[in-house]
């Protein structure tokens, strides 16, 4: 069993050496730890969408502003929707709609392929966890 009163007294004896400013400095230090972890360890977050049509790169779009890219293919127009941090194929003239049903892509390396219309949408990031992700 842990002797609780003794433990509290022991912790209190150490805490007596902490001053108000010390607590402030410690708080800032912990905040710095959390912030640095959040900003440096965001692996897998995509920053760019690469849209290919007929095997060649049709457009490279930054994932910072929402927009819609219309890609022409042999069957018609594939509409790719871009939003901050994610992208999806909004509509496609293909018969089975696999790439549309894949929904939003969030991770770097994720790919949606609309084979009948020869259009593909891939997300890339600086430190991607995967080279390619398909569902």
């Amino acid at each position: 069993m842990i002797d609780l009163p003794a433990l509290r007294c022991w912790l209190g004896a150490w805490a007596a050496h902490l001053k108000a400013g010390d607590v402030l400095v410690l708080g800032c230090a912990l905040a710095l730890c959390v912030l640095s972890a959040l900003s440096l360890w965001k692996g897998g977050r995509p920053d760019k969408a690469i849209i290919r049509s007929g095997g060649t790169v049709f457009a490279e779009v930054d994932l910072s502003m929402p927009r819609i890219v219309e890609v022409p293919g042999p069957l018609g127009t594939t509409r790719v929707e871009i939003q901050p941090g994610r992208a999806r194929v909004a509509s496609d003239p293909g018969p089975r709609q696999y790439c549309v049903r894949q929904g939003w892509l969030h991770t770097a390396g994720a790919v949606a392929i609309c084979a009948p219309n020869q259009v593909s949408l891939a997300l890339s990031g600086r430190n991607a966890d995967y080279d390619s992700l398909n569902y």
Binding site: C9, A13, H17, L18, D22, L26, A29, C33, L40
Partner: protein, 183 residues
Amino acid sequence: MTRSITEIVLTPTADDHRVARHAAAAIVLTVAEAAIPLPLPGVKPGLANIITLVVLARWGWRDAVWVALLRVLVGSLLLGQFLAPGFFLSLVGSLASLAVLGLAMHLPKRWFGPVSHSVLAAFAHIGGQVLVARIWLVPHNGVFYLVPVFALAATIFGLANGLIAARLLDEELASERPDTRCL
């Protein structure tokens, strides 16, 4: 027989003795710490900094600089690290933290104690080391990937070292007061 005029007589002053005594204590802690197994290269408790903090509070910044730099030099000689990459990392870390300590010691004493000094110095230490590592040893941004780990270690060990230093400093005053220790 007359005394040779080329003979140099060094008379250590009380200051020299004091610096030497504290540096010796810091060197002992450095060597003892080298025996502790560490999960990650670069993460160390830095127990010798307790001595630097105590010297800073009691004797001022000049003595703290002497003690810290003597500790880095002799510690690296004893551990066979002199002029190895680790020596330069610890030298730069010490210089950075001494510079920050020189500023931090002027914070109002009423609010900021050794714990503040210790945490600030620990952050300056890792800051200097990561910078040197990035520029010289590992010229790749991958070094920054470990920064959160180093920052957490600096917080924890900065707190621990600062508390020990604060307790050592208070113990001297507390010896005159009635005993309030836990039973």
